[in-house]
């Protein structure tokens, strides 16, 4: 998917605009392949929670949880394919990790698909994706 909106700069003091550039589905696929290697990537176990209709792409609450006992999850990885840079975050858990569930806030440049991958200590990889629509601010300051 490619980003569909490119805005022309109009004069408004204080306006800050994005530099035109986005990642791609292919770029995310390459990153995921590097992460997973030859292992199988399956749907399930990991759950990515994002609003389907995003109020403002600047700050989007995200929850990633894994159906697993404490200590079973090695790491979590999140990718946003239509952001300027596709990587969102990587989180590696240590031995004191509790319930495998994290919450953070992310930026989404435009409507797109976001993917989360959980890597388990048993070597398996699990993924979940959310396709969402991003609403833009009507008035920009």
């Amino acid at each position: 998917m490619i980003a569909r909106r490119r805005f022309v700069l109009t004069a408004a003091a204080g306006t800050v605009l994005p530099v035109a550039a986005t990642a791609s589905h292919v770029q995310v696929a390459v990153l995921i392949r590097q992460l997973v290697g030859d292992a199988k990537l399956a749907e399930g176990r990991v759950k990515l929670d994002l609003p389907v209709l995003v109020e403002n792409g600047n700050t989007v609450g995200m929850t990633v949880s894994v159906d697993a006992p404490p200590g079973a999850v090695h790491s979590l990885h999140v990718y946003a394919e239509a952001n300027p840079l596709p990587e969102v975050c990587h989180i590696r858990f240590g031995p004191r990790a509790g319930v495998p569930r994290i919450q953070t806030r992310i930026r989404l440049a435009t409507s797109q698909t976001v993917t989360a991958i959980a890597q388990m200590h048993d070597g398996t990889f699990w993924q979940d994706s959310v396709e969402l629509l991003v609403t833009l601010a009507a008035c920009i300051d």
């Binding site: 204080g14 994005p18 300027p84 004191r96 990790a97 509790g98 319930v99 930026r107």
Partner: protein, 106 residues
């Protein structure tokens, strides 16, 4: 100096998961924006966040410009003995800052 809000229960039960919430005041300037006269605003983000408890690493997070301004992180952890929870983060200039909280295991 960056402001940090670290929310941890003061008392927890041994080996029972508890929630930690963290807010850091930081613009997380993505490096993808231009200012009003068209100049690129340089990237300035917190790129690494490490949570330790005693001598053990609880969580290590690599952050990218897609993490929103004033980063928020909530996670769960366990403790077997009273100790100090320490959050250490590093920005693009290599500046490191820490915030700690004590946890009593009852």
């Amino acid at each position: 100096m960056v402001r940090v809000l670290l929310n941890v229960p003061r008392q927890v039960r041994r080996n029972e998961p508890f929630d930690v919430k963290l807010l850091i005041s930081h613009p997380m300037e993505s490096g993808q924006r231009r200012d009003a006269v068209g100049l690129a605003i340089p990237r300035d983000i917190i790129n690494l966040l490490v949570v330790t408890y005693g001598n053990e690493e609880v969580l290590r997070m690599d952050l990218f410009p897609a993490i929103a301004a004033n980063p928020f992180l909530a996670f769960s952890m366990t403790a077997v003995a009273s100790g100090t929870l320490s959050i250490t983060f590093t920005d693009d200039h290599g500046v490191t800052q820490s915030e700690t909280a004590t946890v009593e295991v009852v």
